[in-house]
């Protein structure tokens, strides 16, 4: 260990390399974190553009803007880009930036692999997005790419889609290994596991989930590849396969995947709420155990996505109760956040606003999830806009608000300047109102029977769809404001102190703002 410190002390003054090579060849966790965050935001805008096409088409009943075939590609690409391009890389970016700073490590444990895992992502998404311009169009079978829609009936570009999934899977797995190695090996002396900030804890658990399920995703797309190109029959009934098998394998990946997208947000919010409540987090240990419990349970509930394929009653009951059981550790978390705020000295800066909205709106999404978990009722809700409302309530105010909260919370540390608080509050309120306008009416649409992924709808759904589209346009446009706020903050403003938030705690606030290119070359001592 001492050798590391000596090496780094000698190179202490080395700043970043100049020009483009700084970004291409960098092994610095802060540079790579920044690139992840910029990449994920650009994917957020791209996936958002696809969503705007969807909402524009659904503004009025009837077909007016796009062909149904293109509409299908938009719903599919919106889901894929948001899940794999926006949410997951954003959390990897936050992990890269913050985990070494939070545990007192000089960098990630595997810096070269870190560089590689980032640069694979633009390649994967270049391939994925290029399918839109190929003959036959891009993927049009929904982000869940159920066989045989994606095998027998998929467009010729499906093979490119599979290749892109493989590459982004490799990238995620490498990112996860890096997080695990960093957290297990590079903690500062005295930083025991149960002293780690919750963001680090939730990311460690997320990394284990990634390692467990991304290979299963790679396996299922490999089976698709073989069915399409090499004449196997994994999912083809005529050759002895079974399309339902696809759904089982996919959701074995898919359900832990939804926790991969939310656990780091749980962690970030668990940093932010205590900071702006000026109190310690209520129930730290129970938060850690609850996160672990959610992660373990996530492997036992996959079939609740497929109640309608014909699962025996015993199976339906098992998956229904197992799903409802997840509400218990999740409830522990929500109560802990509320208890942290209870009788705290609260202030409502932008990170706190996003964090509080996270707690409230994610809970709404959790409740609609409980409704969907009730197997007999699910037959009514399945594949309707109620499902769309549910997962957007957990992903937009859940994952995305968690990312916004983190961005505002740590922007002073990244840039060295305070962001514009009033613009950030405007961003929050417009996002909050836009998001609720967009997604709340979808609950009613779904309960009334409007099917998802269809470019047209019955006339009685017209008003709610128009409201929903207006909300979506508002939410989408507001994100340009976020871009402006971040650019403005990066360019200058009020200089940020090392610890710009009065109640914030953690090692990241012991280094100056902006964080120097190299930090913790000498490990800090945690008592």
């Amino acid at each position: 260990m001492s050798a590391v410190i000596d090496d780094h002390t000698q190179e202490h003054d080395h700043g970043p390399a100049g020009g483009i090579t700084r970004w291409l060849l960098t092994t610095n966790h802060k540079d790579i974190g920044t690139m992840y965050l910029i990449f994920s935001f650009s994917m957020f805008l791209l996936g958002g553009t696809f969503a705007m096409v969807i909402r524009a088409e659904l503004f009025y009943p009837g077909l007016q803007i796009v062909e149904p075939e293109f509409f299908n590609q938009m719903t599919t690409m919106h889901g894929l880009v948001m899940v794999f391009g926006a949410v997951m890389p954003a959390f990897v970016g936050l992990a890269n930036w913050m985990i070494p700073l939070m545990i007192g490590a000089p960098d990630m444990a595997l810096p070269r692999m870190n560089n590689w895992s980032f640069w694979l992502l633009p390649c994967a998404f270049l391939i994925l997005v290029s399918t839109l311009f190929m003959s036959g169009g891009g993927p049009n079978f929904g982000w869940t790419f159920y066989a045989p829609l994606s095998t027998t009936y998929g467009p010729p570009s499906t093979t490119f889609f599979i290749f892109a999934i493989h590459i982004m899977g490799v990238s995620s797995i490498m990112g996860a290994i890096n997080v695990i190695a960093t957290v297990l090996n590079l903690r500062a002396p005295g930083m025991t596991l149960m002293k780690m900030p919750l963001f680090v804890w939730t990311w460690l658990i997320t990394a284990f989930l990634l390692i467990a399920v991304m290979p299963v995703l790679a396996g299922v797309v490999t089976m698709m590849l073989m069915d399409i190109n090499f004449g196997t029959s994994f999912f083809d009934a005529s050759g002895g396969g079974d399309p339902v098998l696809f759904q089982h394998v996919f959701w074995f990946f898919g359900h832990p995947e939804v926790y991969i997208m939310i656990l780091p947000a749980f962690g970030a919010v668990s940093q932010i709420i205590p900071a702006f409540s000026r109190k310690r987090l209520f129930g730290y240990a129970s938060m850690v155990y609850a996160t672990g419990a959610i992660a373990l349970l996530s492997f036992l509930v996959w079939a609740h996505h497929m109640f309608t394929v014909g699962i025996p009653v015993a199976g339906q009951l098992f998956f229904m109760y197992a799903t409802m059981l997840i509400a218990v550790p999740t409830g522990v978390k929500v109560f802990n956040w509320v208890a942290t705020m209870f009788r705290g000295a609260l202030t409502f800066e932008a990170p706190m606003l996003f964090a509080i909205a996270f707690v409230i709106l994610f809970t709404i999404g959790g409740f609609s999830g409980l409704m969907l978990a009730i197997s007999p009722a699910d037959f009514q809700y399945h594949d309707t806009y109620f499902v769309v409302a549910h997962f957007h309530y957990v992903l937009v105010p859940g994952a995305i608000f968690g990312i916004f909260a983190s961005a505002y919370y740590w922007l002073p540390k990244w840039t060295g300047y305070m962001y514009d608080e009033s613009l950030a509050k405007a961003h929050f309120w417009m996002s909050f109102i836009g998001m609720n306008l967009a997604f709340f009416p979808m609950h009613f649409l779904g309960l009334a029977g409007m099917p998802r992924r269809i470019p047209d709808y019955a006339l009685q759904f017209a008003d709610f769809n128009m409201i929903s589209s207006i909300g979506a346009f508002m939410f989408g446009a507001t994100q340009i404001l976020f871009l402006l706020i971040v650019v403005k903050c990066a360019r200058g403003g009020v200089a940020a102190a090392a610890k710009p938030w009065e109640g914030a705690e953690g090692l990241e606030w012991t280094v100056p703002s902006p964080a120097p290119y190299h930090t913790f070359t000498t490990p800090p001592v945690v008592e």
Binding site: M1, V4, I177, L184, A212, H248, V249
Partner: protein, 196 residues
């Protein structure tokens, strides 16, 4: 530093073992799923050839209705129908019924019938000692065939099951390979083939 490097190497090794293991597990789910469905019968796929004695003891006095359905897979041109649509059987007795198939096209074709029993709860109690679905069917142009199915409804069939419906879907196997070849050709002419 060396100890740190070594332990990082160890973590990476463990993680990679996990990754490889889970990739293999994804593929292991395929046979596991088949075995699970075989044991429980929940996907309605009636099993292979029944080996036990055909006439082990007296037939049950219950009368069970067995319905037969036939359907064609996508773009399957054959005429395919059960010659008996409905039959009442006593559990325990061996019954023979026939399906009729005709290849109306002007070329030889190969087909495979895939069974499905409803309700799936009855799958484990429906035994076939002889079935055209055990093998592929090859028919020359214009040829017709009567295909036998010999089955026994198990005496252990739960009391509340009074009616079983057996459906066969006939898939074109010759066409399947042809379609795969066509896709590859079409894809490569579009400049879209990778790894195919």
């Amino acid at each position: 530093m060396t100890s740190n490097k070594r332990s990082t190497g160890r973590v990476v090794t463990w993680c990679m073992t996990g990754v490889v293991g889970m990739f293999a597990f994804g593929f292991a789910l395929v046979p596991l799923y088949d075995v699970f469905c075989d044991i429980t019968g929940i996907n309605g796929k009636t099993g292979g050839r029944y080996q036990a004695g055909v006439t082990d003891g007296e037939a049950d006095s219950r009368l069970i209705t067995v319905q037969f359905i036939a359907q064609n897979g996508p773009e399957m041109p054959w005429v395919f129908r059960p010659m008996t649509r409905n039959i009442k059987v006593h559990p325990g007795e061996a019954i023979t019924v026939n399906y009729y198939a005709e290849n109306p096209t002007d070329q030889a074709m190969v087909a495979q019938a895939v069974p499905s029993l409803s309700p799936s709860e009855g799958t484990l109690y429906f035994h076939k000692t002889e079935c055209f679905c055990f093998t592929q069917q090859a028919l020359a142009a214009g040829e017709t065939v009567e295909m036998p199915l010999v089955f026994i409804v198990d005496k252990a069939l739960p009391e509340h099951l009074r009616k079983l419906t057996l459906s066969y879907t006939l898939y074109d196997q010759g066409k399947l390979q042809q379609a795969a070849a066509d896709t590859t050709v079409a894809a490569s002419t579009n400049g879209l083939a990778v790894g195919g």
